[in-house]
Symmetry: C2
Subunit: 278 residues, 2 copies
């Protein structure tokens, strides 16, 4: 991995790297915030998975995360949201499919399959790369994200029990097989096999017996995509209630889907993850 | 003024407005963050003046200000950095002159003079408009800014004694008559009259007897524009020392000129201004 940028923030360093991903078979860019504690010791890490249209840059610029990462001594990894490049399949006229919309699944379908292996990328290749190259405590990691990336966080934790100490999400898609964004991406990346779709759907995973210790979700009540039926938190709540899965969804009156919403509550999410990352 | 956008953040509202400015003789856009306290009472206000190339959007998105404005019950006004529009003079191939680079002065020279009246706009027209339309305590205001806007903050406070309760700046240009950015803009907007230039130069104003209660400046030591000689904090320090003007410049090792630097220290600036805005 090659460092291509380093900026000091809150006494730590926000670095950007490029590497050749074997999972995704292309050059990938990601950012890592290393808190000041990482100068002297290895630190735990929060993986942050961003939403549709985002790259590694949005959350690191607009989320206000770094001051809380510095407070708690937690590194943050900001992966990209899909493979990228001229040789990577895309639907340039669509924001919700192709580059910027990898949905954190392993594609089984051409033309997507050769590069769109984002589940393995964010859960296996990237953690192994970072634990080998940065001062991170091996295995001590949590995951969070926003919208498509909130769903990504949920399935990372649900599909890999014990891998993440804690999971939270902002305005996550929670039942992609029943919403427009999810159907569009799952149909393209996974074909028409219902069982494959369900294996990447947070609500179906809980129904099928997957469990994590606890889940924290913040959801704005004025979120336009909530009202459009893309997020479906009631479906996830019902699945968790039926399964006895602990879940706290905080409905936040007046908040929309933007980074202004994330910035408003990110402190609580760092406090939450910090308890599990000690 | 017409509200064109409203987003909830940190329990308050980040609003964007448009209005026809009489000073600048064009439609101007600005943003205001109203903290939750403004629902029940009038609040004090911090004017934030942004730097070259910025609009009202950069600091409100990238600065991490709103949580501290909410904590202290202070509104924030984010003006644009110049007049805008097809009928407004510009140098589209330059980032440091014309639209996005108003330098917070009142131009005396064509083609700039008809619209580039940013000093009067941010110190008189906009405060009067906002005090008449928003729950702001009349006259209870402070000013801060970044780079070109940090200089703007200094000259607002120095040229209008008593008008602002406190002033601070991040990486301000401090002696524009002696740096490339300043010479370019002052030459265009103000002609070649040395006395007019000096009347808009923070260091010259202090040398000429202007005083404010106290000044807080944060300056990154790894700031590329510091090393390029655009900011010249030593000149301002020397002018303040000679004049007995209280000034605290905090040199911050490793920090650059970006919003990551601002986000790292904005909490201290809100704490500072809050003491004067009680």
């Amino acid at each position: 991995m090659k460092e291509i940028e380093s900026v000091k923030e809150s006494d730590g360093y926000l670095n950007r790297y490029q590497h050749l991903s074997s999972c995704c078979d292309c050059e990938m860019t990601f950012s890592v915030y290393l808190p000041p504690q990482a100068r002297d010791t290895k630190v735990p890490v929060l993986y942050w998975l961003s939403g549709l249209t985002c790259s590694d840059d949005n959350a690191r610029t607009k989320g206000g995360f770094q001051r809380f990462a510095a407070k708690h001594g937690i590194a943050i990894v900001f992966p990209d949201t899909s493979p990228r490049g001229d040789n990577v399949a895309d639907e340039p006229e669509r924001y919700d499919l192709g580059q910027g919309a990898g949905f954190y699944v392993n594609s089984t379908q051409d033309p997507w399959r050769p590069h769109y292996q984002m589940f393995d990328y964010v859960t296996a290749e990237l953690p192994a790369l970072l634990e080998a190259n940065l001062p991170l405590i091996p295995g001590l990691k949590s995951v969070s994200g926003h919208s498509m990336g909130g769903h990504g966080a949920l399935i990372c934790a649900l599909k890999l029990p014990g891998e993440y100490r804690s999971v939270s999400a902002f305005a996550p898609i929670t039942n992609p097989i029943n919403c427009g964004w999810g159907k569009g991406c799952f149909g393209a990346y996974l074909g028409d096999h219902e069982a494959v779709w369900e294996a990447y759907d947070a609500s179906c995973l809980v129904e099928g017996g997957a469990r994590v210790g606890d889940i924290l979700i913040d959801q704005g009540e004025a979120d336009e995509f909530l009202h459009e039926g893309q997020l479906l938190p009631d479906n996830f709540q019902a699945a968790c209630d039926a399964a006895g899965q602990s879940l706290r969804i905080r409905m936040q009156p007046g908040y929309d889907h933007s980074y202004h919403f994330i910035a408003s509550f990110i402190e609580d999410h760092f406090d939450y993850h910090a308890r599990f990352l000690k």
